[in-house]
Every structure is written in C-alpha cells, then in structure tokens.
Amino acid sequence: MNRVVLLWLMVGVAGFCLLPWYVLEEGLWSFEWLFDGYPTDSDYAPAVFLLLQGEKLWLSPLLLFLLAPVLVIFRDKSDPLFSKVLCLAGGLGLLYLLAQGFSIGIRGWNSELLLAVFGELGDRQYGFGYGAMLLGISFLFYLTTGIAARGVVNGDVFVVGSIGFVIAMVGLFIFLPVLQMLSSALQDDQGQYSLLVFFSKFFDDKIWGLHCLVSSRGCGVAWNSLSLALLVGALTTLLGLVFALVATRSGLRQAHLLRPLTVLPIITPPFVIGLAIILLFGLSGTVTQFVADLFGLQPSRWVYGMPGILIAQLLSFTPIAFLVLIGVVEGISPSMEEASQTLRASRWQTFKTVSLPLMRPGLANAFLLGFIESMADFGNPLVLGGNFDVLSTEIFFAIVGAQNDQGKAAVLAIVLLIFTLTAFYAQRRWLGKKSYTTRTGKGDGGIPTKMPRRVLYPCYALVTIWGTFTLVVYGMIVYGGFVELWGLDHTLTFKHYITAFDVAINEHGIHWRGSAWDSFWTTLRIAATAAPLTAALGLVTAYLLVRQNFRGKNAFEFGTMLSFAIPGTVIGVAYILAFNVPPLELTGTGVILVISFIFRNMPVGVRAGIASMSQLDKSLDEASLTLGANTWRTFRQIILPLMRPAILAALVFSFVRAMTAISAVIFLVSAEHNMATSYIIGRVENNDYGIAIAYSTVLIVVMLSVVAIMQLAVGKAKTSRRTTPGLAVQAAPDAVVVR
C-alpha cells in the first residue's frame, strides 16, 4: 500500500467529513463551533453533512476526486495508471474546488453568464474554511505525488511535493492578489473592462505631470518618488561606503563600534526616524526653536516635504547600505591590494585602480537596494510628507481617504510596482552574475591595506558627524517619550508610559489597563505565529533552490524572491482587493496579517537558508542518500540539525520584521486585530507624539532584547561541541534588506 497516498487520503477525508467546510466567523482559533450545533448546523457542518442534508449539492463531485486514488493505492508507483489517476484526481479536484468557490459566492452565482446558463441558484456560500483548506491540500499533494510517479526529479515525492506546495502558496498569496489588482485597474466604475480607462488613469497628470519644472505647481507623484529614490539610493551608497571603509580599512581600534549600527534598521520601525526628525526640526522642534531664537527667524515648516523625507530615509537606510558594503569591502582579498603595492602602486593608486573597481558591482547593488527601499517606504513619507506626495502614501490615501477609489489605488500601485520591479530585475540580471568577490577561502592571507589619507580623513569627518547625528536622533526617541508636550512643556513625566502601558493588579489577576496593551499583545501573537511559518517556508524553498535541480528552477527562484520587490503598500492594496470576498475571505482576520507577514518576509528566510545551506558540503546529503535515506529523511536528519543557527536567525528576523512592518499592515488591520505600528501611526495622526514615541521606544527595546538573546544563543551554539561553526549570523546581512 502506498503510504503517501494513504496520508493525503486521510487528510482529505478529515477535511471533507470532520471539519467545518466554511470559514468560521469567530475566527480560525475559536472552537465554539464544536459545542454549537456541530456537525449539523449548516454554518459549522463538514461538507459531508451538508450533502446529507441536501444542501450545497455542488460540492458532491469533490467526493469523487477525493476517493478516486483508492483505486490505485495498492498499485506500484511505476504503474502508469497510478500516476494517471493521481494526477487527474488531484488536478481536476483542485480545479473544481477553486471553480466552484469562485463561481458561487454570497449572492449565489458570481457571474451573469453562469446565472443565464444554470438559472437561479437559490443558495449561497461563504469562504473556504478548515475543511476546504484540508481538501485542497490533499488534492495538491495527490497531484504532486502523481507527477513524481512519472519520474519527475527522479520520482522524489518529497521534493516534488515541496515544489508544488511552494508554487501553490506563492501563486495564491502573491501572484493571485497582484493579478487581481491589475484586473481591477482595468475596470471602470461600472466594473466593465476597458483599456481606455486604464490608460487615462495610468497617464494621469497627477502621476506624471511635470509642472514643477515650469511653474510652482507640484510635479506628479511618480516623479516625486523617482527623484527621491534616486537621491536616497546615491547618498546611502556613498555614506554606506564611507562607513564600510572606516569599519574595515581604517586600522582604527574603535572601528568595531560601528558594527552595532547595522542592527538599527532591523529593530527600528520605519517611521520612528521620521518622528525624531519632527522632534528636532519640526515647527516646535528643538533645533528649529534654537535657531529661531538665535537669529530671530520665523520658524518654518521646511522639513515637511522632500528635505525631511530625505533626511529620515538616509538615516533609516544608510545602515543597510553599510551592511551590504561591509561584505563587499571585506570580500576583496587583501592579496589583491598587496599585489598592487608590490607592483609599485601607491596607496592612493591602489585604492583608485584596484579596490574601487572591484567594489563596483557591490556599489551598484547598494544603490538599487536604497532605491527600492526609498520607493517602498511608507512610514516616513506619511509622517513627514506634507505636500510632497509620493506613490506609497498616495496609494494609502486613495483607499482610506474620502475617495475610497480602489481603481486609482490599483493604478498607483502598478506604477510603483513597475519602478521597484525594474530595479529588482536590473539588480538580478545585471548584477546577479557579476561578482568580483576575490577572496577564495584558503591561502588568502594578508592584512587589509589601510586607506590612503586623502580618502580616510574625509571619511572620518563624515562618520563622526553622521554617528553623532544618529545618536542624537535615537536619544530624541528615548527622551521624547518622557516629555510632557514637546516644544511647549519640557517637564519630565511618565505620563505617556502610564497611559500606554499601565498595569493594575486586582482580584481578577493582572489588569492590562494601558491603551497600548491590546495592540502590543496582538502584535506579539501575530508576529510569533508568522515567524515559524516564514522560517519553514523560507528554508524549504532555500533547500529546493540550493540542493535540487528541476526544470523551471530559474522561474521558481524569481517567483519566490519577487515579493522582495513588491512594496508593502502594493501588497496591502492587492490583499484587500483579492481577499475581501469568498472563496478566500480573509480581510479583518488575524490570518490575513499572518499571511501577509509570511509572504512579505519569506525572502528573508530564503536568503538565510541559502546562505547557510551553500556552506554545507553537498556530499553530506549525497552520503545520506547513498546510505539509503530518502530526501525527506536527509532533509530532516542531516540538513535541518546542521542549520540550527540559520533557523534561529530566520525565526528572529521574521519575528522582528513582523513587529516593525507598517506598509502592508496599515491596510489589513481591523479593530479586533490592531497592530502596534498602526496604533502608533494613529497616535501620530492625532498629534499625540508623546504616546507614539513612548510606544516606539518600548518596541525598540523589546526587539533589541530579542535580537540580543538570539545573538547569545547563536554564539553559544557556535561554541558548543555539537554544531558546525560558521553558519551563524550570515543570515543577518540580507535579512534586513527591503521592507
């Protein structure tokens, strides 16, 4: 008997006969249904009970697809009939499941055509629940088992199954929503498809207008975003390079103090820097007031707009460029520079003709990352934008503002997506293969050459200024939370902390009275749910990418890394459009937040996995295979244990990123599931800076401790006898890149 088929048969039967077929209004984790009319109440009934009661008869063909594999369960997997039956049952079952889900909604038939053909249905259905989910999974794995039996990837059930699962997930939660968004951009107000409408929206003057060149009117948002992103990309690359040079090539003993900088973007919610900039340079900001007093000037709002966003984004994203470029600078083998010097080149000549050209691909990479980051950034423009509109915030206002124009949001999202995807594509096609990393591992001794003075001294100056500025900014964030009312009343107070995080102990136990607790616990819970799922999906994907060969692998890789380049705002809009109606009815639940985190952060897990897996000798897997273990066993017993540090890193980083995310979250939160970041933004919009800053400080402290605990744990794992060293925090560099 084929055990794999048996497993998925049982899963499918459980889905069809035991669990509620439709989505539960009380949420995924409620279990009231067990005691409230189950299994006959039609809201909670499993599909089989619905059918027995003569309801939802269109579900009955699913049973056929579910049970068909029983016919071949005793056959050998090399029997052509085996694979044929499984492929057909799985593939058709999946198609039928989706087709009926999309055709019949809460108002009966979903399209006029079906209504015309089949007549009035007189019934309706809600979104997929547990039952439908399990049945879908069982169909999916029927299909992959069938495909494997045809000899694809050496007939490996585990590998084909994983590939199928990842493709299904990415398709469902990345491609489907984005396509849905595209389609809604093509619709006019009546829901008719029209290219003309799309083009008129797409080439709207508000997006592409160039008035700012000739008059005082502002330019289109696309140009605003583009010019900002180009500036941020260039400047962060420059600053990042300066930092990297000082950190690695100055010979300064204090240089290692710069490294903690790289942790900052991981633990700082993206808009917090914007807040600090307001505290410093806003109308009632410290610096503004000081300068105004000194020179008798009228305080101005100059910081709101391009200058403010630019400063905030430079502060936020320079550490990312730093992180990337440290790797690049360290990747240049000292022996290259030593060779150059023994050939009579001076330090300056060496730097100019050897070191710098070798860094070129790295510099381009850092630039593109800065560009994408700036394009996708939502928090800082929201806080500091003023009249300077950028794409990401415009998308938000199109949805939540008085306009509520989903079509416009979709068009803007497409414009933004085109920019980021182009940059992403350029980065991969053009830089992916070009690596000048010259360090080869063995036998590459030598001491990194010091920088020439004419490079080094300006670098010192910049680093000192910038470092001080960063310190002041973070100081402001901490200090701001203890001030009564910024700019007016600077007496110290715990007021904001008490409002937000008050705790009382009464006869019922601990009473979380503060206004922030609700969103705080929700955030922790959702981030903690998303983290292991993100890490798991990421690592499995990494395994497939690093260790397996199959047709279409390049497309697979591109697809899984794509969500890297999709800005959060775009995902937010796309999810709202795609998951608002059955069969995937998720908006307003915690599940949609979890899912958005999984797919937003999946590339982090993939990168971490790839980084550490490519350091594992491939012959370890092969040894396990030749010793008779199958791929699943090899994955579980050899690869996973050896990747423990990488798993830990992926866990922590996806957790932390889920806590700091704002751009997609702000579209997806609901009253019931509010997240910390959107709560803070809400306070900022009410000019309630005190609480916002206090809360941000708490978040930063929480995440800092999480990261610190992880570093400790990984450090321990490194020194403990039973782990391979060297796999630890390589995950980190890529982990922060792109929100």
Binding site: G151, A623, S624, L625, T626, L627, N630, T631, P641, L642
Partner: protein
C-alpha cells in the same frame, strides 16, 4: 582487521552505451560501455574533467544517465535514484555528519533501512572494529584525525554490505605517508571481503597499486582498459603511455615486420631495434620509451644516439636527466646516483631491453 560479521553481496556493474549530457551541450560522459566483475577492484583513472567522477556518480545514482542503461548484478538500475540502489560511497571529503557521533554516523544507514536498534548497534560496532576504530564510537568526527575520519567513512559504507562500494578520490585529503598505508588497508579489506569496488583517482601510482583493472578515461570516453601491467607495458596510444608513467615519444619508421615471431625492425636515426610488433605493419609509427628504460652511456659507446645533457637533478634515490638529441628533448632517470653526467656532458643514449613500446603514428 579480519573479524567479519560483514558479508559481501558483491555484484557486477555494467554500463551499456551510457552518456551524460548536462544542459544541452556539455557532454560529461559519451557512450561509455564497461563491465566491472563481482569482487573486482576497478579504478577509473584520468585527468580532471575526463568524466571519471560523473561515471562514478552515475553508478551511485547521484547523477542520472542521459541515455544508455546501467546494470548492477542482473538488475537494470538506470532509473533508480541513489536511495534505492544497493551502493555505498566513500566521499572525497568523507562527508561525515558533523552533528552525529562516530557510532551514529556508522549506524545511520542501518537505522534508515529500518533495522532494529540492538542489531544496528552490533553491526555498527562491528564496522568500527573492522576498520580498527573500536572505542572511538562516542567521539565526534571533528575530534578524529584525517586518517581516522577516512576509516569511519569506509566503515559507514561497509556496514550496509553494499553490492558495490564506490571510492571518490579517497586519499586526496591525506598526507603522502598516510596515503600508502590507507590505500593498502582499502585493498586488504576489499580482498578479504570480496567486495566489488569502483575507485576514482587521478593519481596513476595509486591506481597501479590498488587495482585489479584500470579504466583510463579521456574526454568523456574510455581510452583504454586493462590490468595495471597491460596499461604500463602495452599502452594503446600515446595518451595512455604518457599518462601512466611518463613516456618519451618519438617518430620512427618500421622497416619490416616478422609475422611469425611477432617482432618488428625499427630504425631510428641509424640505430636499429627489434621489438614486439603489436600487430603493426611497416611504415611510420611512434615509439614510447619510459624514462627509466633509457640508459646514458659514455659518448664512445656504440649502438646509442648522441646527445647532450642539459639538465641534471639529484632527487635522492635516483638521478633525473634532460637530454637534448636530434629527435628532441628526452627525459631519463637513472638509479645510478654514483655516476653523474653533469649538464653539458656529451652522452650516448641507449634503449634498455623491454623498454620501448610501438604505438601507431
């Protein structure tokens, strides 16, 4: 090393016109047919990129043949993945699982095949005993020396009693002295257990020392297969002659062939030699002469070719000379470290008996 609760289920390996093509264009193995008999140790030998490792990995099932069929015993395993083949492999890097103890490593394959725990333990311990590592079971691989790690890798492969045991350059990570010892141990084990072994190396001396038969590979195909002695003494072509022990190659003319005696008269710049004809006919041919089959004598000695020593190196147990002749520069060695022909000396170069081998031009 003689205790064996480990038995051999040795089986033959056969390739029938097997090719391996990567992508569209890169042919790693091109239409290879070969047979390794049960209980035989066969070496795949060749320069890097000749397809020997790919061939080995196709036996293991780690690479799938693009065409042709592979048989182990009488069973066609062409389409079976590594997991389902009864083949074990010792990797170049040993590939010991760093997170498992030595015993766990050796027991891994047994455990995976679903054997009961006590039996797994007994067999694993037997395996360690077989390679002389009794008592090392609780250590981690990182706590063993290179040679010991190598033995663990061998034990891990052996305890499964595979039909075929594969070695992928198993000695390349050991230092020179250890190499000879480990290579002898492998050979002893193979012979005492009657294992079928396929062994990949690029070191011709190692191949000559351990093999029953050697298959020399070149450019994705087989250049020649035979016993070590056949390959050394009767190379099929100049590539094999030069790859297995160096050879000086020179153009000669076969004057006449004595079909009855199987000998050929060869003339080279006025010097006539008689040597086995190897089925060749009169006309141009090539002559391969091993460096140690050349003898340098005083210039007055007749029957030799005149030459000038241009380089003379003392390497301990023998002398190495480069001699310039009208025919080119030849490399010669001499065990006589007492008599030295210094650079610039005129010499007469003679062929020793059973030295030169005729090759087709």
């Amino acid at each position: 090393m003689q205790t064996t609760s480990i038995h051999s289920k040795a089986a033959s390996v056969e390739f029938r016109n097997v090719s391996k093509i990567y992508g569209e264009t890169v042919t790693a193995v091109d239409g290879v047919s070969l047979k390794v008999e049960a209980g035989e140790l066969v070496t795949l030998l060749g320069p890097s990129g000749c397809g020997k490792t790919t061939t080995l990995r196709m036996i293991a099932g780690l690479e799938m043949a693009s065409s042709g069929s592979i048989l182990i015993g009488d069973a066609d395993v062409t389409l079976l993945p590594a997991t389902d083949r009864d083949v074990s492999m010792v990797f170049q890097s040993y590939a010991l699982f760093p997170h498992m103890s030595v015993l766990e490593n050796v027991a891994y394959g047994l455990k995976v095949s679903g054997m009961k725990k006590p039996e797994v333990r007994v067999r694993a311990l037997n395996g360690l005993e077989l390679v002389g590592l009794t008592g090392y079971g609780d250590r981690l691989p990182s706590e063993l020396s290179g040679g010991q790690q190598q033995r663990v890798a061998v034990a891990r492969a052996l305890v499964l009693e595979p039909q075929v045991l594969l070695f992928d350059e198993p000695l390349s990570n050991l230092d020179a002295k250890l190499r000879r010892q480990v290579r002898e141990e492998i050979r002893e084990l193979q012979q005492s257990l009657g294992l079928t072994v396929v062994y990949v190396t690029h070191d011709q001396e190692e191949a000559l020392a351990v093999s029953d038969r050697i298959i020399v590979m070149r450019n994705a195909g087989i250049a020649q297969a035979g016993t070590p002695r056949e390959l050394y003494e009767e190379p099929a072509d100049s590539f094999v002659a030069d790859f297995i022990g160096e050879a000086n190659l020179m153009d000669v003319t076969i004057e006449q062939v004595d079909a009855v005696a199987g000998t050929a008269e060869v003339s080279l710049a006025g010097v006539n030699i008689t040597l086995p004809s190897r089925g060749m006919v009169a006309g141009p041919a090539k002559l391969a002469v091993r460096p140690n089959r050349l003898e340098l004598k005083a210039p007055e000695d007749v029957g030799g070719l005149p030459g000038t020593v241009i380089k003379c190196t003392y390497v301990g147990n023998h002398m190495e000379y480069v001699v310039r002749l009208a025919q080119g520069e030849w490399f010669a060695t001499s065990d006589d470290v007492g008599t030295v022909h210094t650079a610039g000396a005129e010499v007469s170069v003679h062929f020793r008996a059973r030295g030169p081998v005729l090759l087709s031009a």
